[in-house]
């Protein structure tokens, strides 16, 4: 699976990293460390026609993006 680790980056970096990583194929898994990138990536991906699934992993969040 296509994976990126966007923990430690502040907005808008995680969204831009996700946008880039989507070019390399689906599904894409994105790891982030706060709710701001969760909400921003969800907005971007949903508006671009993707589906987003989010689950907590310890103190982080794992987003899975599919078509």
């Amino acid at each position: 699976m296509n994976q990126i680790d966007a923990r430690g980056y502040s907005c808008p970096e995680p969204v831009l990293m996700t946008k880039n990583a989507l070019k390399k194929g689906l599904p894409l898994q994105v790891l982030v460390d706060s709710m701001t990138p969760v909400q921003n990536i969800t907005r971007f991906a949903t508006n671009a026609g993707y589906q987003v699934d989010c689950k907590s992993v310890g103190e982080d969040y794992e987003l899975t993006i599919t078509k």
Binding site: S10, C11, P12, E13, V15, L16, S34, M35, T36, Q39, N40, I41, T42, R43, F44, A45, N47
Partner: protein
Amino acid sequence: MSDPALMVGFGSSDDAAVYRVNETTALISTVDFFPPVVDDPYQFGQIAAANALSDVWAMGGAPRLAMNLLTFPRCLDLQVVQAILAGGQSKVTEAGAVIAGGHSIEDQEPKYGLCVMGFAHPEEILTNSGAQVGDVLILTKPLGTGILSTAAKAGLLTPEEHRQMVDIMTTLNRWAYEAMMPLKPNACTDITGFGLLGHVRELADGSGVTAELWADRVPVAPKALELAREGIIPGGAYNNMGYLKGAVLLDEGIPLERSDVLYDPQTAGGLLIAVPEDRAAALLDRLRDRGVSGAAVGCVRPRGEAAVRVRRHG
């Protein structure tokens, strides 16, 4: 400890402190400073000054005296420091006030702002607790500068979009203040870090009313809605959503990017003015005459279940 001369203090979440000096003079005092929101140091100084000065106009007063507050790292080029201060000076002069001194200390990151004092007649002080049922709410700048600043950090704005963003943040609320004062508004506040919804909520709670906003009538800076759809939204907007939960009732069918912008934290945002309906058209005319982009964005209703209700259409 209390002092009967203190007209506005901590209690009411207002924009500045107000102290009655005598029967005809009230002193308005406020302070604000923050780290750079744009790369250009001169523009940063202008924005920080426009933001700090704004609280005095929002209380119905005229700024007269300002003091610089500055922190900067030892490695920072002296020319950068001078440019920040020159930017601040330019806006204080435009405001009709003077800089009389200030204080600077070393810090890891530059921060700049001002302590500002101004005066008003005690009877002309505008708080955020005077709004009356039937008032029209008029906003004097477009929203979206938090979103645009976030985009600017990643170089996502064209030079024209960047210029428009800086123009919004460096425009003084002096002109909106001069337009509104002869029309005797009931309440006023300025829109800053808590976003339009956060500041409208304070006005509604302070006045014991419900503020109704019309989502499609709220002016938004070019590109901001598009960026919101792309998830370029500052963390502060989500913080605002969190703390306003329960205070804001959003009607169904409002596009998400529209409601996101209503929560967007603003730097040096516009004034939000509550004016009786029969004087609203005159206020919009007076704003337009002074080159201010005023818009009627809502109205004041009797207190309902929430402090703020957002309708899809006006």
